[in-house]
């Protein structure tokens, strides 16, 4: 029964496809898969916007939307209807074609990224051998569309936002990749389902997730920070920078095009959280050995939503960095740390089993974190101060 429930979508697809002629079946599987994944993620998007508004509200002592449907659950529907029917404005001097293409390019690229995510056991649309590479290649091309949006709008704020976005996304791609590589080094594959399988199994009741190793923990943290920067989420939301650049690169977008940017931002957040779940948090694996009866896809989405919650939590808590600090942080803190982490991963691999590698690797990670952190703070001349009073 648990087995069937776990594989329910796979079985369902198989059953539906079985009515098709033989030669059509691969196409049927593909279409059903694409529709299924898109439907799930778009529903998740709607749910998350609601969740974010409610959660943010709760962290700020207020209710959040509660007039549309039970607990305001239909709020995203109303927003959708409004966004669909809102007038679409294009500035007179804007580059009409590029202005139109930018949100589309962003959405398509991000949707393509969803294809390689293993959302459950045997549940992945495209099982590529180099799935991770494909994902990062797509991630790099989102920068293009952001820049297209900013450039074509002919708005100075958009332009500044686009410039910031390019600088930020390129910088943070490096630590993002480097921290992902350590997982690849241990798993020995670029295929995401295989990385999940490499983390399967339990010692006692605890799983073999990479996050429970020194290098994996550091990698997960670096990946999480870089992921926030890649998706332009607070505290790295400089390209939008509401208090500085009005709305950043999409200042001039209205109506449905703006909604597409909105959707794409959230889908990007999902896909990058999914990848981080896959790389460090055991993908669709259960967190404790006696919980394996719960279907794998439930675990996967529970983990993704937990990470999304952390995103929201950080958004409600932290102020934004400045552009140069953002760059310093990427190149002078995250990059060295992730390089050291690569070395630690290699050490971990070649030291073999035993408690020594735990101590050595953990020591290197902690010491390098503290040293780099102190050095960075010292260079910034930032410290709490003492104040005196007049007479």
């Amino acid at each position: 029964m648990a087995q069937n429930l776990d594989q329910i979508f796979v079985l369902l697809t198989g059953w539906m496809v079985s009515y098709l002629p033989e030669w059509l079946r691969p196409y049927g599987v593909a279409v059903l898969g694409v529709v299924g994944v898109l439907a799930v993620y778009v529903t998740l998007f709607a749910l998350t916007t609601w969740f974010e508004r409610k959660g943010l509200g709760r962290m700020q002592n207020r209710y959040g939307p509660n007039r549309c449907g039970p607990f305001g659950l239909f709020q995203p529907v109303a927003d959708g209807i409004k966004a669909l029917t809102k007038e679409d404005l294009v500035p007179r001097s804007a580059d009409q074609v590029v202005h139109f293409l930018a949100p589309l390019v962003l959405l398509i690229v991000i949707c393509m990224g969803l294809a390689i995510l293993p959302v459950g056991r045997n549940m992945v649309l495209v099982d590529m051998d180099a799935g991770l590479l494909f994902f990062f290649a797509l991630g790099a091309s989102t920068e293009l569309s952001v820049f297209m949006a900013g450039w074509s709008s002919r708005n100075k704020f958009s332009l500044l936002g686009a410039m910031r976005a390019i600088a930020q996304m390129i910088s943070y791609e490096v630590p993002l990749l480097l921290s992902a590589i350590s997982a690849v080094m241990i798993a020995g594959t670029l295929s995401l389902p295989k990385i999940v399988e490499a983390q399967a199994g339990f010692s006692g009741i605890l799983p073999h997730w990479y996050v429970f190793t020194p290098w994996g923990f550091a990698g997960a943290v670096i990946f999480g920070i870089a992921a926030k920067a890649e998706t332009n989420r607070c505290p790295f939301d400089l390209p939008e920078g509401e208090s500085e650049l009005v709305a950043g690169y999409f200042t001039e977008y209205s109506g449905f095009k703006f909604a597409i940017f909105f959707i794409a931002e959230y889908l990007g957040m999902f896909s990058i959280s999914s990848v981080s779940v896959t790389l460090f948090f055991g993908g669709w694996g259960a967190p404790l050995s006696f919980l394996t009866f719960i279907p794998s896809w439930i675990w996967f989405f529970a983990k993704v939503l937990t990470i999304i919650f952390v995103f929201i939590w950080v958004r409600a808590t932290l102020p934004r960095l400045r552009q140069d600090q953002l760059m310093n942080f990427a190149w002078k803190f995250l990059l060295p740390l992730s390089l050291i982490n690569l070395g630690v991963t290699a050490l971990w691999r070649f030291m073999g089993d035993g408690w020594q590698r735990w101590i050595v690797c953990a020591a290197i990670v902690i010491v390098s974190y503290i040293v780099l952190g102190l050095w960075g703070m010292r260079r910034q001349h930032v410290a709490p101060r003492k104040y005196s009073y007049a007479d």
């Binding site: 409600a316 102020p319 960095l321 140069d324 007049a390």
Partner: protein, 393 residues
């Protein structure tokens, strides 16, 4: 009236030490001119900055005023002395009670009126409550400008609502209190109101601690504010910068201590001073200042005497001071708030002038912003603590 050809703005011909330096763009010298405002999320209303950018670096900045110029001064010259009082509420709409006090004091100076003990205590209590809510909201807005999604602002406004409830109970209005009168105050507070105020003040201590725990030690806040927007002591004095902003630059000048107005002499409080003159100092000076305000409030609430709240000789309605002039000033939350009145013996002032602290504090905005980022310019503007009702009047 004759007209003149306006002299164009050039800073070079006047190479005084107290002029903003001139920064030349690097590289090929392409300059991006951005007009921030009058509609911009972080300009505190309808303020505009014409910014010249080299990349993201600010190499020139001209503030543009007047988008909320509501002609307070001219209206004041048409109205009776008492009818001006509600207009002062709308100057700095965060701190209506401080404005009331400043204006009432100027008229009292002009007409030679005394204020009873009880009214003086009440004025201190209300002015310090006003200072508290102004500074607390200011900290919230500063965090908002740093991009903190409004959480600190929500917490600050939660406390502000409690203080506004007190104001409303006493004066009948949340924001536009119109409470002070020449020679005293308008309504006598009940004992319940005073004990309720004591309770609220008790709770505010906890709030300040909580707020500081959230913000003061935050690394992002520190790295965003320390060393940014530095204002030197000498320039601050020369440019007539006043209030917490001047004190953050180390200028030991608190009108409560200097002029001994009201009954501030009787209370123990200290004046915090900054050393660096950057945004962090402005932030910390305000935090320490609201702690001192709480101490003043506690002392004042302990010692509220009985008696009348209005000078029996004073008549607010139809007051006609003798010909002459007077300049009265108080330490408003934003700095030195002065009222200059010239009377020609009529029922309305011949000249009614407001010395707005936040307007004059903006004099040094360009000096502070040059060489910094756009994001910093927004923060520096926020750190001045402007309210457009007062800047443009």
């Amino acid at each position: 009236m004759s007209s003149w050809t306006l002299q164009q703005s050039t800073n070079e011909h006047l190479a005084g030490w107290n002029r903003p330096q001139v920064i030349k763009p690097e590289g090929d010298g392409e300059v991006l001119e951005v007009s921030m405002g009058p509609h911009h999320p972080s300009t505190h209303g309808v303020f505009r900055m014409d910014v010249k950018l080299d990349g993201e670096k600010v190499i020139g900045l001209k503030p543009v005023f007047g988008y909320l110029h509501r002609n307070h001064e001219q209206l004041g010259e048409k109205l009776s002395y008492l009818a001006i009082m509600p207009y002062t509420d709308r100057l700095d709409y965060f701190c209506s009670l401080s404005n009331n006090w400043g204006y009432a004091m100027a008229v009292e100076k002009l007409a030679g009126l005394e204020v009873p003990e009880r009214a003086d205590h009440l004025r201190v209590i209300l002015a310090e409550l006003t200072r508290f809510q102004n500074h607390a909201s200011w900290i919230g807005f500063l965090a908002q400008e740093m991009g903190a999604s409004g959480t600190p602002l929500m917490y600050a406004f939660r406390e502000r609502e409690k203080i506004l409830d007190l104001f409303e109970e006493l004066t009948g209005s949340r924001m536009m209190c119109n409470y002070m009168r020449f020679g005293g105050c308008r309504v006598d507070p009940t004992a319940e109101w005073l004990s309720e105020t004591r309770k609220v003040v008790q709770g505010l201590h906890k709030f300040v601690d909580e707020f500081e725990n959230l913000l003061t030690g935050n690394e992002i806040l520190m790295s965003r504010t320390q060393g940014v927007g530095v204002l030197s002591h000498d320039l601050a004095v020369n440019a007539s910068v006043s209030g917490p902003m001047a004190r953050a630059s180390g200028v030991n000048y608190d009108i409560r201590k200097v002029d001994h107005y009201g009954i501030y002499d009787r209370f123990n409080f200290r004046v915090p001073l900054g050393e660096h003159g950057d945004i962090y100092d402005r932030y910390m000076v305000r935090v320490l200042e609201i702690r001192e305000s709480l101490s003043i409030l506690e002392q004042a609430l302990k010692s509220v005497p009985g008696g009348p709240i209005l000078d029996p000789k004073a008549k607010s309605r139809g007051i006609r001071p003798k010909a002459g002039e007077a300049y009265g000033r108080i330490e408003a939350p934003k700095g030195e708030l002065g009222f200059y009145l010239i009377s020609d013996g009529a029922g309305s002032p011949y000249r009614y002038r407001i010395r707005p602290p936040s307007f004059i504090n903006l004099t040094v905005l360009e000096d502070m912003c040059l060489g910094h980022n756009v994001a910093d310019a927004i923060l520096i503007l926020g750190s001045v603590d402007i309210v457009l009702g007062e800047v443009d009047r």
